[in-house]
């Protein structure tokens, strides 16, 4: 084990790796997911261009404040995951597990806030069939909502393994795999939030 300074120097000297962190299989999955979201976003934008009035009108009925808190929750959880990966890289499994559980908790906060929003919508009689805007709003956010759940399951599985001291500085691909997926979930929301809640 070298000092961190040495490590940094060595890393710059070495050729950088040609593959992203984590198992390459998860990246194929991430690419597929990103493709679906990209098409969904473009479909939203083009459907909107035909009915801008309607979209602007119903966009105003959304709660932008809860969406802000949700964005902050996801950003924070992503940050926690980064810290968790650093901890795993440094061989500190216990710390890694703590960061990951904190990230899962932030994901849980997101779900609670989003679910309360859905409850308000359903109480108001809004559904996928209400109009094109709500169709897209509910489809996009619910599709993303399910990704948050899946990401939390993955992070929890990684956190459990980290809690059992299951990773090492030489072998922590599992942590990076879960982290990459979670960042993807966060990244997609970063586009979704302005597109659906703000842009008009």
């Amino acid at each position: 084990m070298r000092g961190i300074l040495m490590d940094t120097v060595v890393r710059h000297e070495q050729a950088r790796p040609g593959y992203p962190p984590g198992d390459l299989a998860i990246w194929i999955f991430i690419l597929a997911e990103l493709l679906v979201f990209a098409i969904f976003f473009a479909a939203y934008a083009f459907a909107r261009s035909g009915q801008a009035e309607l979209f602007n009108h119903y966009q105003a009925t959304l709660n932008r404040d809860t969406a802000l808190f949700n964005t902050l929750a996801l950003l924070t959880s992503s940050y926690f995951v980064v810290r968790g990966v650093v901890a795993a890289r440094e061989g500190n499994n216990a710390l890694c597990a703590r960061w990951l559980w904190a990230a899962v908790a932030m994901g849980g906060l997101f779900l609670v806030i989003k679910a309360s929003e859905y409850a308000d919508h359903f109480a108001a009689g809004v559904s996928l069939s209400s109009n094109t805007f709500y169709m897209f709003y509910l489809s996009l956010t619910f599709f993303h909502f399910m990704h948050v759940i899946l990401g939390m399951v993955i992070l929890a599985a990684v956190a459990v393994k980290a809690g059992r001291d299951g990773y090492s500085p030489d072998d922590h691909t599992g942590v990076e795999t879960g982290a990459s997926y979670w960042h993807m979930v966060d990244m997609v929301w970063l586009i979704l939030f302005p597109l659906v809640y703000v842009m008009r």
Binding site: I4, G18, P20, F46, L68, V86, G91, A179, P194
Partner: protein, 99 residues
Amino acid sequence: MSTKTNIIQPNRQLIRPCTVVYGVLVVLTLVTWSIGRAGLGGLWVSLLVLGFALFKAQLVGDWFMGLRDIRGIWRWVVVIWLAVPGSLITLAFAFSHGG
């Protein structure tokens, strides 16, 4: 375990780059939210908001996912992806505001 803790100790005293990035992400999110709250709209405001969003996503890809340390095609995978919805959304908004 204790030696490892010692080794990384110096790093603890600095602000980590990822913490700075997190701060930038939060600030840009608040700006975006404020624009929405002020009820601003129109093509240029929308594109500005979209630009923030793409930049934020890029930050997540580079610093959180760690793609800036990668060479080859995978280094650009998020950039390339962002270009697709980014340009299509721009096109659609230009279309709806122009026509």
